[in-house]
Symmetry: C2
Subunit: 189 residues, 2 copies
DNA sequence: TTGACTACTTACCTGTAGGTAGGTAACTTT
DNA sequence: AAAGTTACCTACCTACAGGTAAGTAGTCAA
């Protein structure tokens, strides 16, 4: 979290609060209190909650793409481990869940633009998974039956659910699911 | 939904709204409007939102147990299909998600009693899955590697995530995930 | 050194949320 | 028939949410 400016701090904190309690629970006061500024100052940077929500998705996407770049020359399994690390970090940092999960669980009652933002982000992650799975299969690092697309679709659901259920059932549960997920990359069926 | 009394209608509607928009988005006004009663009438039956939330979990549990009873003499795959039907019905009835999913995604910011209620309910579903998997394996209907517990843990995460991601990616996606989940019951690894 | 811009603050508005107190009409029990 | 109980309603309160308008202190550029 290299947030130097107030604007960056706001989006960073907003992201954390949304991952912690969800879009509807989160509010401007939480950020204002944390930064020792007034509520209205947040509106100066992000006129509406919707604007901030969108910025949070963009921020999250940025981090995801930074991770992509860091591992682009690594072997496929290291890429997957980098993805898992993101999830572990969320989990360990106050039981946060992933951004896609927060917005999907509130999907029916969020502004359209945020719906679209979440959807686009989801497709991005999904494509990254497909590419990673395919290149891993080609290089012989991964073995799995079926298409990479089907597996990626499956992973997205399981990851989203695992970090949420992990909140209730604890770290051991969460670790186990990710371990079992990984095993789907080393199997003939 | 055989809700005759106002009290039953309240909990039934509350359940729907919570599955639709989440615990924090949902409010008493929605129910009051739907039933053409005043806000205060809801407080008469459920003094606090927490009380209603707990009642909603109990209601959901009731439906789950009714399903259990209906299929207790059926073959294991029919039990699984009955579970899936619950999820399909949620999905088709206004993109609702499962109760465990709503409360897990809001887990950090819900009253302790509701946390406990959700946790207990989750363990109940989990145990039902384990039992169903084990009996299915014993009878030769299911083939899967690893323990029934591990598989049940995995299913819980995937189901929770699938119905949420399904909101974003649509019915085809959701169906595909459930289909692939089912395939884990007919595999040697 | 003036004028524009930035980064806020103060002060306020509106809507709505959950919740409560007291009343009342209708049914139910004794 | 009286007394209690149920199922609400009216009227209200408090807190807080998101949002806005107007001002101000400091920076920065011409």
């Amino acid at each position: 979290m290299l947030a130097n400016t107030t604007k960056e701090k706001i989006v960073e904190l907003g992201r954390g609060f949304i991952q912690h309690g969800g879009y509807h629970q989160f509010n401007y006061k939480q950020i204002a209190t944390e930064l020792n500024i007034k509520n209205a100052a947040i509106h100066h940077y992000y006129p509406s909650k919707e604007d901030l929500g969108l910025a949070v998705i963009e921020k999250d996407k940025q981090y995801f793409e930074q991770m992509n770049k860091r591992v682009e020359d690594k072997i496929p399994m290291e890429k997957i481990e980098a993805l898992f690390k993101i999830y572990y970090d969320y989990f360990n940092d106050g039981n946060k869940i992933c951004i896609i999960g927060t917005f999907s669980s509130a999907y029916n009652e969020i502004p359209e633009k945020i719906q679209k933002g979440a959807k686009d982000y989801l497709e991005l992650v999904n494509k990254w998974l497909i590419t990673t799975f395919e290149s891993g299969r080609k290089s012989g690092h991964f073995k799995f039956k079926g298409t990479a697309k089907d597996l990626a679709d499956f992973w997205v659901a399981t990851l989203t659910g695992a970090i949420q259920i992990g909140r209730i059932r604890g770290a051991g549960y969460f670790r186990q699911i990710l371990k079992n997920l990984k095993m789907t990359l080393d199997s003939d069926c």
